[in-house]
């Protein structure tokens, strides 16, 4: 059971009278989220704007975003999954013991009040951030929240959406899905896409030392990844495309300076709700765009003899 029930941000702007932020700090990380999409907007259905909306923040600590919320629920670190599961039980009027609730750092009374408000909403939305999806439980937490939102539809309209972080990571997700079927964590080494996040995700690959050449674009893992991963990047030939000479550039064999996307390179970027936006560069860069450089590298590789020959065109069943 479960699923993903979501919408575009304009739906939130037009209709959401109940807004939950879970494990995110939009005030500091997505500064215009409140004003442009959620809290402050007035609409045909919510003519008084902020006054017509109830806002709840769930997080492990009181961030700046708490000030903007009507209710702040401080969950004990690492207890998101438990709290979500309790809420799922409570909406269905199942019994939950006081002790179980107490473990989450909240009281049954507070949760019952929350459930009541959620059910009374006309259109509820739950945004979840890295604080939920990147801590203990990881994708299990996100799945529990998505399920809670889906199940709320037995009572009223409810949707959920991840607060995607930096830049155009949503675009990468969307494109990989239509071209390979999978959003990330892909291996193409058999000539067709295979997906296995634990096995093929970059940190795991680097820590295991399972790659002998890394091509890094639009990211700086040399500044953010665990040390064993960075050590491996320094050991193998690493190629970096970036507008700046980054930490990763410094440990790479090849760095190519490119025009910054959206500032000096045109194209498309996807919003967190998967709506594509045109980019309108204001500057003309002395450097080529990422697109041009990657294309030229690919074309150069394509001139060499193909490493994979005598393959069937298609296989019926994957091994």
């Amino acid at each position: 059971m479960g699923g993903k029930v979501t919408c575009t941000l304009g739906e939130v702007k037009n209709r959401a009278d109940f807004i939950v932020y879970w494990g995110g700090n939009p005030a500091e990380c997505h500064p215009r989220h409140f004003t442009k999409y959620t809290l402050m907007q007035k609409s045909k259905f919510l003519p008084r704007g902020r006054k017509d909306r109830t806002v709840v923040l769930v997080d492990i600590r009181e961030t700046k975003s708490a000030k903007a919320a009507d209710h702040f629920l401080q969950v004990r670190p690492g207890k998101d999954f438990e709290l979500l599961t309790i809420l799922r039980a409570l909406i269905k009027d199942q019994k939950v013991s006081e002790e179980q609730v107490a473990e989450t750092g909240l009281s049954l009374e507070v949760l019952k009040d929350l459930i009541e408000k959620m059910k009374a909403a006309k259109f509820g939305v739950m945004f979840f951030g890295m604080g939920l999806s990147m801590t203990r439980g990881k994708h299990m937490n996100a799945a529990a929240l998505l399920t809670l939102a889906a199940e709320m539809n037995a009572f009223t309209k409810f949707v959920a959406m991840p607060m995607r972080g930096h830049g155009n990571v949503t675009g990468a997700d969307v494109i990989m899905r239509w071209q390979t079927g999978y959003p990330f964590g892909i291996s193409l080494n058999r000539g067709y896409p295979r997906y296995n996040p634990g096995e093929f995700s970059t940190v795991d690959v680097l820590v295991r030392g399972d790659t002998d050449c890394a091509f890094i674009i639009g990211a700086d893992p040399g500044a953010t990844m665990p040390k064993p991963a960075i050590d491996h990047l320094a050991k193998v030939p690493t190629i970096v495309l970036d507008p700046h000479v980054t930490h990763t550039s410094r440990l790479s064999r090849v760095h190519i300076t490119t025009a910054p996307a959206g500032i000096a390179a045109p194209g498309t970027g996807y919003r967190m709700d998967e709506v594509p936006m045109p980019l309108k560069p204001a500057l003309q860069s002395p450097y080529p765009s990422d697109e041009e450089v990657v294309r030229r590298i690919r074309e150069t590789i394509a001139l060499r003899p193909d490493w994979m020959t005598n393959q069937p065109q298609m296989i019926e069943a994957q091994i």
Binding site: R32, K36, P183, T202, R253, V294
Partner: protein, 115 residues
């Protein structure tokens, strides 16, 4: 000097991807990013069209773009298990090129999302 005005420009610094930014720019830098938040402003204002870095670096030494493309292609072609990673701060058009290149190479392909 007359500043060029770009209306409804798009900021991709965070997932909000605000597309209502008004940019005032000369040939080298953006002087104003109206409607952008603090993060967006500093993102727009910190990039310039100056030539701050060499076109490319090979083993830490300045090199031409053509040389760098050749060497990069060589490393990738010679590798048994190349990895194509990142794709956050770039355009969809570049991302498509990355997936095409990974397909040709038989590479591992991954984004920020897997972190």
């Amino acid at each position: 000097m007359e500043l060029k005005v770009i209306e409804n420009a798009t900021c991709t610094f965070c997932g909000c991807v605000c597309d209502d930014i008004e940019l005032h720019a000369d040939d080298v830098r953006i002087h104003q990013a109206k409607k952008a938040c603090v993060l967006g402003k500093s993102w727009f204002l910190n990039h310039t069209a100056e030539k701050k870095y060499p076109d490319a670096l090979i083993d830490g030494q300045p090199a031409s773009l053509d040389e760098a493309i050749e060497v990069a292609a060589n490393h990738l072609y010679e590798a048994d298990m190349p990895l194509v990673y990142g794709m956050s701060n770039t355009t969809c058009e570049a991302q498509k090129e990355c997936v095409a290149m990974a397909d040709l190479l038989g590479a591992l392909l991954d984004s920020h999302t897997s972190l």
